[in-house]
Amino acid sequence: MKVPYRWLNDYVKIDRELDEVVDALIMTGNAVENVFPPREDALNIRVGRILKIEKHPDADKLLVCQIDTGEDGPVQIVTGADNVFEGALVPVALHNSHLPNGVHIKKGKLRGVESNGMLCSGEELCLKESDYPGAEVYGILILKEEDAYVGEDIREVFMWDDTVLEFEVGANRSDCLSVLGTARETAASLKTAFTLPSTEYLHDDDDICNHYRVDVLDTDLCPRYMARMIKNVKIERSPKWMRQRLTAAGIRPINNIVDITNFVMLEYGQPMHAFDGRRIAGDHIIVRRAEEGETIRTLDGKDHPLSSNNLLICDESGPIGIAGVMGGENSEIEEDTDTVVFEAAKFSYGNIRKTSRELGMATESSMRFSKGLDATICEQAINRACELVCELGAGEVVGGTIDILSEDLSPKKIETTAAYINGRLGTELSAEEMASCLERVFIRTEIRDDTLVCEIPRYRIDMEGKADISEEVARIYGYNNIPETLGNVHFMTDEMPDPDKMKSQIRDYLTLHGYFECVTYSFMGMQDLDRIGIDEDHPLRKAVRIINPLGDDRAFMRTTMLPSMLDTVALNLNRKNDELSLFEIGRTFMPETVPVTDTLPVEHNVLILAKSEKAGDFYSLKNDVENVLFAISGEFPRFASGGAACWHPGRKAVIYIGGRPVGEMGELHPKIAGNYDIQKRITLALIELDGMEVYERNFKYAPIARFPAVERDIAVIVGEDTEAGSVKDCIEGNGGKYLESCELFDVFRSESLGEGKKSLAFSLKFRSPSETLTDAIVQERMDNIIRKLSEDLGAELRS
């Protein structure tokens, strides 16, 4: 909300410097977003009248003008523009002046004739046609008589000399979307007086009811509708002061009647509308919901299809406006309009908000209505509009008001106690001190014993209960005056699990081992699943769809972390960051059914790891997966070849903890890599963290073995398809209780072993806690192992 400082000054006495005022406003909760100071870039430019024009003696295209700028004697200026005429009012850049476009003007001679400045075009003053009519005409800007006077500083003409405050108004304070609202807050902040504008005017003895009729069919959406009639209207430009204020507040002046409605909206926060009285069919206004299929063409020339969600202002032939949003083209004020009907109404904020969204029309009016307005403002606003009609001589006000009211307008009262407010704020204020704070924001407060009975101004629709009273007291008393205490801190009695514990262990291990943590968006598109080769009917396609997404590629909540990690890998490789060890801990979202209606999806915490070939291969990632999983679960995972189709078919594994699959790892399938333009080998692991028991490190010391270990090596020849893991399992399963460890130390292939064969060599350690093992005992175990390896896996001992 832009508020010209002079306008504010009309209603509140400001006796302090601007920065003090701004500070005081901020500290009472009126966020001043911007202060636009008077323009300093247009200096020494004045309004002048061309007294005489003569041809330049030595140049056909130049004119020599004598100009009255209010100083003693005329100023001579040479110009090349041909749209000037004697008697014209023009902007004159005098000797030693500065133009808004940065040009510095000095006197000089043009073809031998002295020129003491320059006549300015609209362009040179950085004006657009919408700022001032004729601004984009080729030539000198000709000012209208009613806009300027000789000698006037150009900054005054265009209201460049006023400061404009821009307020960021809270969603709850619709009353502050107005000059009067901000003036009231300013008065409260500065402890100065506030005055209301005049709403006194003359009207004739006739009655609007003799001319027009209004019916409100949907009073739920329109609790109040007021109308007044203006006759003998003369449509003209508004006076300069009004146009200047509208412009400074960001609204384009149109004509006196439309400007009055906008002016009143800015002043009171109450949007108004003016209908051309001649265009109301049947002289009958009907406020009703739209019928299905009905359409309207609004003032901006656009057609809108309507539904029964939309409230319309109609006449007997159909819609003439969308209530609270925009008027219809058919009832627009025209140059020859002689009768006007003013509307000031209250519409349900929810409905206006919905309509404005549905139709994609956000107007100054809909913005105000959708924040909620009080019904009493209608009356003040419509009276102010009538007063302005008289002041401007824009027409004659016809007597009588149509007022269809279905809302209770009785005063709103809230009772509270000083003890309650002090208890909430941590202050020790007396009831009287509180009352004086409240009076400053126009809340009339009566003190009965300890009780404060507060009468809330109706425009304060945000005030609903005792807590609101405490806030008013706090902000006027000053947040900075409230003490700072730590109170009696009580900790929670319920045991709360630590959601960060497992994640911290993962982050600790991985960051100490060269990994960088990534954070990516939680969205995905179906095209991401196409890219990683997910089938049409795969469960990962059952995803939470966002009704209003940012785009196709972000229309779903992700069901897998793979695509965003691959995007990250691809981005880095593309930027020649070849050595990548990355991880992300994030969530995937699995709905029970799609589309989702009322059941929340299951959210999984997932860890994804990625290594580029320069940072490591399958085995180095596997090593990290093992250690991470041990760190968080206290158990080394098992790996079995297998997994999704996105992996290299010969380099993929399912990861098990406690016999339960918890994830997969693998080298990215070259085809999938190709979809991301990745030429390097990338190994990834996806691990679901939910359901894994956090490893509670309840260590118990066990005595260190005193007896020596017996070491034996064994090499077996197996088929190429036999995995080392199954050989190891077989050894461990049959080594007996004294087998302490079994480590693979060599894999060997040669022609002598034969095609499709490999030799695996293991180093075994046997140890008893209670005695030195004899060769016989160990040999018995070894024989058992060898027999089982041969029986179960067809392995032969390599001699």
Binding site: A171, T493, D500
Partner: protein, 340 residues
């Protein structure tokens, strides 16, 4: 006889002098000290020695053996020493070379700052509580005093999943869930991702992170809120930090405040980051609206409390001087490496 012994020992010493390997030493040893060696040979002469001189002869031979043994030991030690010296010399490495592996990685800057913030609140007795990111509209809005069509909903552009389900716009629903489930005192922070339907640019991201806090107990005041947040901000930004509480608006708190703290970049002198103000907005907070407390099944006449929230992305960007929020979600390793 002693002369011949002296001659032997001299011979050994001379031979040792020119021996430069363990192998040569072994040969020499065999020659002199072996079973068939010179010194053992001397003992064979024993029978030619008169009886009364035998003990003396014996002790002289033993002495000779001992001297020879010592000489060998000494030489052997010398050789080992020399060999070690040579090995150590040979094994000199260029310590400026690297293997270029096993470097440190780093946590994402957002999480580094989150941990820092979290640890401060933990020390002040706040528990960390998690909640779903896809949330019932009821918890995200209604129970926080933001009914349907309330103008406050315009403040938050929401991603909708269905009539009743949204992608959460704030972590406040975790507060609702906690109040519904636990009896006061409740003292929690709820960190996590939140979502707004904003197009991506340098200062907007549809995904960002919040940390919200809640304390519900008997007799909690606005003054307590000021105390705890000032303490937090001084711990985060340093003891000299100055704060300013300004009235603000949030539907779920009343009174509400926005909190500014001394700009960390210029230390309060004014710079582009704080638009010359010397202060920068860091927090929103307030006393929990009694309606919210009541809707969560607690008696607002008995319990009061405060709530606060801060944008982790904003705090992180201010802390590290990051000017474009997109960098946080792009994960360029050259960016991530700056936070080791």
């Amino acid at each position: 006889m002693t002369e011949s012994f002296d001659k032997i020992i001299a011979e050994i010493r001379e031979a040792l002098n020119i021996s430069e390997s363990e192998e040569a030493l072994r040969e020499l040893r065999a020659r002199y000290l072996g079973k068939k060696g010179t010194i053992s040979g001397l003992m064979k002469n024993m029978r030619d020695i008169p009886n009364e001189e035998k003990p003396k002869f014996g002790s002289l031979v033993n002495q000779l053996r001992q001297d020879a043994e010592d000489a060998f030991q000494k030489k052997s030690a010398e050789l080992r020493e020399k060999a070690l010296e040579q090995r150590l010399k040979r094994e000199k490495i260029d310590v400026t070379l690297d293997r270029n592996s096993d470097r440190l990685g780093a946590m994402h800057p957002l999480n580094q700052v989150y941990y820092e913030v979290r640890d401060i609140f933990r020390k002040m007795g706040f528990e960390v509580v998690d909640g779903p990111e896809i949330e019932l509209e009821k918890y995200n809005f209604e129970m926080l005093n933001i009914p349907k069509d309330h103008p406050a909903r315009d403040m938050q552009d929401t991603f909708y999943v269905s009539d009743q389900i949204v992608v959460r716009t704030q972590t406040s629903p975790v507060q609702v869930r906690t109040m519904l489930k636990h009896k006061p005192p409740i003292r929690i922070i709820s960190p996590g991702r939140v979502y707004r339907n904003d197009d991506v640019d340098a200062t907007h991201s549809p995904v960002f992170n919040q940390i919200e806090g809640l304390y519900i107990d008997k007799g909690v005041t606005f003054a307590d809120l000021k105390g705890v947040l000032n303490e937090f901000l001084r711990k985060l930004y340093g003891q000299a930090t100055v704060t300013k509480f300004r009235p603000g608006f949030f539907p779920f708190t009343e009174p509400s405040a926005e909190v500014d703290a001394t700009c960390t970049i210029c230390g309060g002198k004014g710079c582009p980051a704080c638009k010359g103000a010397g202060m920068i907005e860091v927090l929103g907070c307030g006393m929990v609206n009694p309606k919210v407390i009541e809707d969560c099944g607690l008696d607002p006449e008995v319990y009061s409390g405060y709530a606060f929230g801060l944008g982790l992305d904003r705090i992180t960007n201010i802390k590290y001087g990051i000017t474009d929020i997109r960098l946080l979600y792009e994960n360029d390793v050259r960016f991530l490496k700056q936070f080791i």
